[in-house]
Subunit: 228 residues, 2 copies
DNA sequence: TTGCCCTCTTCTGTATACAGAACTCCGAGA
DNA sequence: TCTCGGAGTTCTGTATACAGAAGAGGGCAA
């Protein structure tokens, strides 16, 4: 493992899991010291993160972790909608029916999984679905475009994570998508995906607004930065 | 201007304009020497290009300029179609009608411009259209996604450049798109864009196949690399 | 007391030196 | 003649030193 990769993955993980708060200045010297690498590989890591949009270098000299606003999420979803709809259409044409039949079946039984509290297992299933979709599309450019937009939404999803009702609903939506892809029905798959994405956006937006309200209500002078 | 930016722009320009042939190994030491910068900023430039997909670092240690194949172009177009269709739909909803009315008018007169041989002026008009679209969409995420996919097609377009008939046709297609956006007709704009993209892909594909035939026919042992 | 300017500190951008790894080329053996 | 192995070379990955610039803080003047 290269030092630059280590720094990249470590920082990326910290940002995605909110261990580094939005607005935090990312000093090269400090981070290099903390991660135990020199500034050279750390610079490479920061550059990668900046190109992925996980670090904002536009204003000022030093990079900062961008905020997750309702607006930015909505914008990401406009891109995501375009790509995911195209992806499922293509997948419906090129898929191996057996793969998506199996996935549809798994999502059909996901309700039980979720009721037993195994949310991690469910997220693994969703990851398996994403991977199957990527495989079916068989387009590296589409894969990397989807990858870059999905990364951004991981941070938002971390916030909305504790919402079991929504998860049960997404299982049903995913099942519908899988069945449509299995049957080669591109337009139905696209419609089901559009429904799914709209629902996800609504949930995330509501969670964000709720969180913003929670943060401002208790006390107007409470520190919002560096919140653990 | 930073040395890393200089190296980046210089290399990017070289790759997009085919001054560096596909398959060419990009040695850090050699490039640093040629561009008159040290390896540190050059590494940063190579990293940026790699993340944009203009340099392939996946196989082997040293980066190479990826080939422009019919397959890769078709894959890029699948992504581009998804993004551009979404973009024009959003633009049709959010646009300033006057801007696209003016552009429609410009495209209506582009035929004369092209007949006088001013292809550069026409490309500038297309760039103006792209910029107006980006402005109307008003979505930074969409803008950067479009940017990254457009970059890849610049190399392909360089090959198809000398095709005046196709250019006249694209002017008409662009005019149609502008008029639909001007009128706020999202679906018509999307359809017109789909038509336009399909035509462009067909032309580029035909050019690529023609070029491949030209290269193999004259002599089987002719050097295909390092062609000036 | 407030605003401006100067100085100092700190950070980034760049160059270079060094270590480890991979590729290449040459030679020996089958 | 082909294949395998080893030495040499070259390249990348990393660390560190240095210069320039941006920002912060304090002091002085209005």
């Amino acid at each position: 493992m290269r030092a630059s990769d280590l720094a990249y993955e470590s920082l990326r993980d910290d940002i995605l899991n909110w261990r580094i708060a939005p607005g935090t200045a990312l000093s090269e010297t400090e981070l290099a010291l903390r991660l135990g690498v020199s500034r050279t590989p750390l610079r490479a890591a920061l550059a990668r993160l900046a190109l992925e949009g996980l670090v904002d270098t536009s204003r000022g000299r030093t990079g900062v972790v961008p905020d997750v606003s309702v607006e930015s999420i909505a914008q990401q979803f406009e891109v995501r909608e375009a790509l995911e709809l195209q992806a499922v259409r293509l997948a419906a044409r090129r898929r191996d029916p057996a793969v998506f039949a199996e996935l549809a079946d798994s999502f059909a039984h996901a309700g039980e999984t979720l009721e037993s509290g195994a949310t991690e297992a469910y997220y693994a299933l969703v990851a398996r679905f994403d991977a199957a979709l990527d495989d079916a599309v068989a387009n590296p450019a589409m894969r990397s475009a989807l990858e870059s937009v999905r990364v951004h939404l991981v941070r938002a999803r971390r916030l909305a994570r504790d919402n079991p009702q929504r998860l049960v609903q997404t299982a049903a939506e995913h099942r519908l998508i899988c069945e449509a892809v299995r049957d080669g029905d591109a337009e139905l798959a696209a419609s089901a995906t559009a429904v799914h994405l709209r629902g996800s956006l609504t949930t995330i937006t509501a969670t964000l607004r709720q969180r913003a309200a929670d943060e401002t209500t208790p006390g107007p002078d409470r520190p919002t930065q560096e919140g653990a």
